[in-house]
Symmetry: C2
Subunit: 376 residues, 2 copies
């Protein structure tokens, strides 16, 4: 487990990797419209392969679906409701009206499950539901107990930053950075290993948990490939005259850390311990992994999706975007540098991001893998 | 839904009927040792009928158990762990080692599920688990999806105080009281109807949710029958020279309300709206209800259990007892009279309870129904 600067167990990765709970101004629930967009474009994805899904035999129990890494807010309730509606139609298309649905909402234990349960209970639902705390990289369901898995905007969160990157004696020690932009090859390789291992652990667990004939839908951050090499974008040094993809989350955030350390507001020691548990697989890396699963998973769909991040460039849109970023990353940074410094970090990040967006001619965009697998 | 004095939706019964969450000094988790005692004496109960339980066929999925009204604390984790251990032995006794267990933790949505999930994740468990928010008086699980239900210390909480008791125009208007001691026959009958209807709704729902051959274990507060008539204890006027069973929760609490209203600290209006959602069925009432379920449930066990409430009578034990009462009832009273008045109520209640315990020669005790049913 990665530990924060204070060394308290409260900063274990499984505790800090939760969005901001509840429904306050800063909450994930009220600042996740971009994720909602990604999810909406996924309706067509969810419809893919549904006709290949094996439904439970009559009287053999409910059709079970699970949203993996659901977070706490309306997005998960909406997508699960829509999926249930589609599945109901599919039952009817096959001439059956004996459907019953059970939905599991899964995320790390620090997720605000109580707020999610309140949302769910606020009206009568077309499905029975339960919350399942735990990491989806491990077994969290009984054997062959789930018919449809769903995972949106979560699989780029790896189970932990690679241990080596905080180890002073390792060639992969990531001093001077909190992520990959401008990092050395060893750091990138360590992240790549972690990302690939996590993906394999994920697939190994889901193979066990899925009913044969069940479906697994995943939408998650994908690395943009430039010049055919994923590493390229990370290895290139930071440059002030950024092109489209360089106006990215990582580039600007690394730069903001540089600034705040130079100003004495953050320390090198804090940065050395703080590494983002993020890795975006390239399509090539993903396809390579999937090859080992050919005998248990049939690929129904595998494609890339690209969506603009800032459309209008007006201040309101930028503010919304930064509030979203804060609702996602604040618990993580708070645990490493405290809430006060974290607030400064987010303010500066918003400022620098705004400047670069305003000065540019091309809009930044966000790339996702879209994957649907059928359990054989 | 019963609403509190402020009329906010936050005081709906399903929101206020939660124990104090977390693990602070006042929490249910740290003040539920009496419930733990009741549960411990139930180990023998849980062993009863296990040899009649139908286990899932090999490879037909996990054995599913659910603790109904689990609350948030170590008690539910302990009892579920012990039950899983017993069930594992039962598999082995029948020559099977293909067991897998899934445990559902159910309680109202306002329960501190996050604290419970933290407890559960603090060590590797022998079962998969999920939280199911909702009232056990309704359907909360798919058809035939649970093998063993368990409900300890919860079924005396009815789904709501009967509507009539807060209706000025009803003969069952319970002015001058918050529960049954000293109430008129109409009030007692209204509570009796509510209690019996709730028990029927409970059994109707669990019949649907249980797998044929599954077991339902319930331990819950039972009315003490004096002179052969349940009503007797409620109809009798309040008396200062109390005998054993009169040193009860209800008697003293009603008296404390009288005192605080006389002193102007609480008002008649507050009392008129506040009625405890509690009803303890007598053994006769329970047996009558069970008669209608003879074709779906076989009674494996039905008996009464009596346990002393105060053993030593020293101040420490009394303090512990009052802290337990507060961890259970504070959210309910807070919603009706506010936290400040509620604190005064609990302090006075403790004082009066202590005086009566110290002055008496007989110890008060708590009676429970112990019930095990086999789904036919």
């Amino acid at each position: 487990m990665t530990e924060g600067t204070d060394g308290k167990p409260g900063t274990m990765i499984s505790r800090v990797l939760a969005m901001i709970g509840g429904d306050g101004e800063d909450s994930y629930a009220r600042n996740s419209s971009f994720q909602q967009e990604v999810i909406s474009s996924a309706d067509a994805v969810l419809a893919t392969g549904i006709e290949q899904l094996t439904l439970p035999a009559p009287n053999a129990g409910p059709l079970v679906i699970s949203d993996l890494g659901c977070s706490s807010g309306p997005n998960t309730v909406n997508i699960v409701s829509r999926l249930v509606k589609m599945l109901k139609s599919e039952y009817q298309r096959r001439g059956r009206d004996d459907y019953e649905f059970q939905a599991y909402f899964n995320d790390l234990p620090s997720t605000d499950f109580n707020f999610l349960f309140e949302l769910l209970s606020s009206e009568r639902r077309e499905f029975f539901y339960a919350g399942v705390p735990g990491s989806f990289y491990e077994r969290i369901f009984p054997k062959s107990s789930v018919n449809v898995f769903l995972s949106t905007n979560t699989l780029h969160w790896i189970s932990q930053a690679p241990r080596e990157v905080t180890d002073e004696n390792s060639a992969a020690y990531n001093k001077g950075r909190i992520w990959l932009h401008g990092a050395n090859e060893h750091v990138i390789d360590a992240y790549k290993r972690q990302g690939e291992n996590d993906m394999r652990n994920f697939l190994d667990a889901k193979v066990q948990e899925l009913v044969p004939g069940g479906l697994l839908y995943c939408i998650f951050g994908s690395a943009r490939i430039e010049n055919g090499d994923t590493r390229e974008q990370y290895l290139a040094p930071f440059s002030e005259d950024e092109t489209s993809t360089n106006v990215s989350f990582g580039r600007i955030l690394e730069h903001v850390w540089d600034e705040l350390i130079a100003e004495g507001l953050l320390t090198e020691e804090q940065r050395a311990r703080c590494n983002l548990p993020w890795y975006k697989l390239s399509e090539e890396e993903l396809r390579d992994i999937l090859k080992s699963y050919e005998d248990v998973f049939k690929i129904v769909l595998l494609q890339n999706m690209e969506q603009p991040v800032c459309r209008t460039r007006d201040q309101q849109e930028l503010d919304d975007l930064m509030r979203m970023a804060r609702s996602i990353y604040a618990p993580f940074f708070n645990s490493f540098i405290g809430a006060e410094s974290s607030a400064i970090l987010f303010a500066r990040w918003g400022e620098r991001f705004g400047e670069r967006i305003q000065n540019r001619t091309v809009s930044p965009s966000y790339c996702s893998h879209v994957l649907a697998l059928l359990r054989l």
